[in-house]
């Protein structure tokens, strides 16, 4: 289908709220008066059972308006065509962090990604990598949250309130920018298993296994981790019995970003926090692909947090 191919304007039924109860005083939305530039697209959705069992793609063809987000389109498929389509969503405006998925191969939030802006006639939707698939586009977030202590804070004071604060407010506070969506976990080549950077550059040099035998980087890093675990006699807390949570090689960008925020909130807990951040599953596995920062929809730049932690002294590794 070419870009020029346009479908007829949507019927009034599609743009007006269904079965509006009319009342003269109601500001009931009228059907769009101007023809919308809609296009008919194919949405290709990965469907599967838990663990990606029976993974396959289902195609849905539907007409899409210029303002439709990927989430709007998924909602429409679910309500009109297939009530068993499973995906996570809640806020619809990039605050809750539930709707991250791979859209045309890149990690994005479905709620703020406009379909037509993608510019492809087929839009492919797949679940995040690095986290176990529970079904269709839904992944299990527990492996990520296993390494973000629930007691770490989620608000921070505003550094500079140039305007002063209103009466009775001691200091403005902000919710953290990290919406815990997992996009960075999926994009990180070390976490998702696609790391093909030559092992010679693997971090940290002092723990890397002999490099002469050209082993895949992931394997090298794995050896580095087990070696490091032996060195430091540390293991990750395994307070959940489910085993997608078995200690991964690398706890990943989001937990390290959260850890760096917690360090800023609680400088007095520096040693304890750096012990995790610089531990056998921490920053040492980062190979500076920067994929996490590129994937983050919320301006967190987790790679910078990881480098911050790497530069800090303490945590038993000076």
């Amino acid at each position: 289908m070419s870009d020029a191919e346009k479908t007829a304007p949507e019927s009034p039924d599609a743009t007006a709220p269904a079965s509006s109860v009319s009342s003269s005083s109601l500001p009931s939305p009228s059907p769009a008066t101007e023809p919308q530039q809609t296009r008919t697209l194919t949405v290709r959705v990965q469907r599967s059972g838990p663990g990606g069992a029976n993974a396959r793609f289902d195609d849905y063809r539907l007409s899409v308006g210029p303002e439709d987000s990927v989430l709007d389109v998924l909602d429409r498929i679910r309500v009109e065509t297939d009530p068993t389509l499973v995906y996570r969503h809640s806020c619809h405006h990039s605050s809750c962090g539930t709707c991250a998925m791979r859209i045309n191969g890149r990690e994005r939030l479905a709620c703020i990604t406009r379909m037509l802006a993608l510019g492809t006639d087929v839009v492919t939707l797949e679940p995040l990598r690095s986290l176990p698939v529970l079904g269709d586009l839904m992944v299990d977030m527990r492996p990520m949250f296993a390494h973000i202590d629930p007691d770490w804070g989620y608000v921070r004071p505003v550094e500079k309130a140039s305007t002063g604060v209103p009466h009775g407010v001691a200091r403005y506070t902000r919710l953290e920018n990290c919406i815990e969506c997992g996009a960075c976990m999926s994009a990180c080549p070390v976490s998702n298993g696609t790391d093909d950077m030559p092992p010679a550059t693997a971090q940290p040099a002092q723990h890397a296994a002999p490099q002469s035998t050209r082993q895949p980087a992931r394997q090298a890093a794995s050896q580095a981790a087990s070696q490091a675990a032996q060195d430091t006699d540390e293991s990750l807390p395994t307070d959940s019995p489910a085993d997608p949570l078995a200690a991964p090689l690398f706890i990943g960008p989001a937990p390290l970003a959260a850890l760096n925020r917690e360090l800023a909130r609680h400088p007095e807990r520096r040693e304890e926090l750096l012990h995790i951040g610089k531990g056998p599953h921490g920053e040492r596995h980062c190979r500076r692909h920067m994929a996490c920062s590129r994937a983050c929809p919320s301006g967190v730049y987790p790679a910078k947090d990881i480098m911050d932690i790497r530069m800090m002294h303490g945590g038993g590794k000076d």
């Binding site: 007006a16 005083s25 939305p29 809640s90 605050s95 269709d136 309130a161 009775g168 407010v169």
Partner: protein
């Protein structure tokens, strides 16, 4: 103790599960989508002071200020301490000012007046034409992270919670509820999807928000629910520190809720019978931006990050002249006395931020009906942090 099945997985259901667990009941929640994918996750995120309702809906205003103070204590990690301003822009707004002040005082909502200069010093983004401003204890909250602690705490206390599980039937025998018929929407390892099953229950609570009418119909009963959708618009950038409200009768496009690095503008309202088909009328989006930019001009120039709709679970009221005047209070209906279906309750209405109070009222009725003398403990019992949800 009795087993209570809750239909719906919004904030109301989560808070009710938490309350019932604390009172000793056995609890299960069934939600057809992701938790908080109905109105609960999608709302404006305004921790109302109650001022918005003080003049025309004092009962809702009192509920808001009381719950505002409780939630600041229970879930501080889900909110920004920014307070709110009501701003007057014209003579009509100025005429409303004294009524609003008096009504706030009557409902126990503290207020503080600012001159235009003081207001603009605090919020330089306000229009130069602001005539007066009044501070109220509003705040911004993260919808997902305010509700999740209730679910996390309930589950840690023994509640079983099922998402992607749709209630497709309510089993009523001999005038009493016996259980639910359910459908699991996810696929199992064998590739089977849509498995149907049943779960017994001593009592069933319909907490399905705007869908409460559809759910009640499964048991052949009626609830006076009126779904009232509205459009919200998130723009890039934070145009103010504080929540900004227009100083006039609750209307459209009169609230700006800044959050993180966004500002959420809203909202409109229409009525529908079908909360599943929510459109996002482009002219509503434009209107929200235009009306909010009267208060803070920068709203007009910011890029739109997202526009979406959500359906309020309003209690139907044929007498209200405008949908905005339908009361935002809540009510719990006992279908035993109303419709001779004993063991079935419906809880509807309210606000996202009155979830705890709605749960308290419903659990009180459940205690009365089951003959248990267990007081509500949710005001003072600490909640687990939101992230604990992923550890239980």
């Amino acid at each position: 103790m009795e087993h209570i099945a809750i239909i719906g997985g919004g904030g109301t259901a989560a808070a009710l599960a938490h309350d019932l667990i604390l009172r000793g009941f056995s609890v299960a929640i069934y939600e057809r989508g992701e938790f908080f994918s109905g109105a609960t996750g999608r709302h404006h995120g305004l921790l109302h002071s109650g001022a918005r309702y003080a003049v025309h809906d004092p009962e809702a205003a009192r509920e808001c200020i009381e719950e505002n103070m409780i939630l600041r204590r229970l879930v501080p990690q889900a909110m920004e301490q920014n307070d709110g301003l009501f701003v007057a822009l014209d003579d009509e707004d100025m005429a409303y000012r004294q009524r609003l002040k008096d009504a706030c005082a009557a409902s126990g909502i503290p207020t503080r007046d600012y001159t235009p200069e003081q207001a603009r010093r605090l919020e330089p983004g306000l229009t130069e034409t602001v005539l007066a401003a009044m501070q109220v204890p509003d705040a911004t909250f993260d919808a997902w992270r305010l509700a999740l602690p209730f679910l996390a705490t309930a589950r840690a206390g023994g509640a079983t919670i099922h998402n992607f599980t749709e209630v497709i039937g309510i089993d009523v025998q001999g005038g009493a509820v016996r259980g639910l018929r359910l459908r699991t929407l996810t696929e199992d390892v064998h590739g089977a999807r849509g498995r149907e099953w049943t779960a017994p229950a001593d009592m069933v609570v319909n907490a399905a928000g705007a869908w409460a009418g559809k759910v009640a119909a499964l048991a052949g009963v009626h609830v006076p629910i009126q779904p009232g959708p509205g459009v919200l618009v998130a723009i890039e950038g934070r145009v103010t520190n504080m929540v900004i409200n227009r100083m006039r009768k609750a209307s459209e496009g009169d609230i700006i809720v800044p959050q993180r690095r966004l500002s959420v503008l809203g909202t409109s309202m229409w009525l529908t019978n079908d909360p599943d088909h929510l459109d996002i009328p482009p002219e509503h989006v434009q209107r929200m931006v235009r009306l909010c930019s009267e208060m803070v001009p920068a709203c007009a120039d910011a890029a739109i990050r997202s526009a979406w709709s959500a359906a309020r679970p309003l209690i139907g009221n044929a007498d209200a002249a405008r949908p905005q005047e339908i009361s935002r209070t809540f009510d719990c209906y006992d279908h035993g006395t109303r419709d001779n279906v004993s063991g079935l309750l419906s809880i509807i209405g309210g606000k996202g931020m009155t979830l705890r109070a709605m749960a308290e009222k419903t659990a009180d009725i459940i205690c009365r009906l089951t003959g248990h003398d267990a007081p509500c403990r949710t005001r003072e019992t600490p909640l687990l942090p939101a992230r604990a949800f992923y550890r239980s």
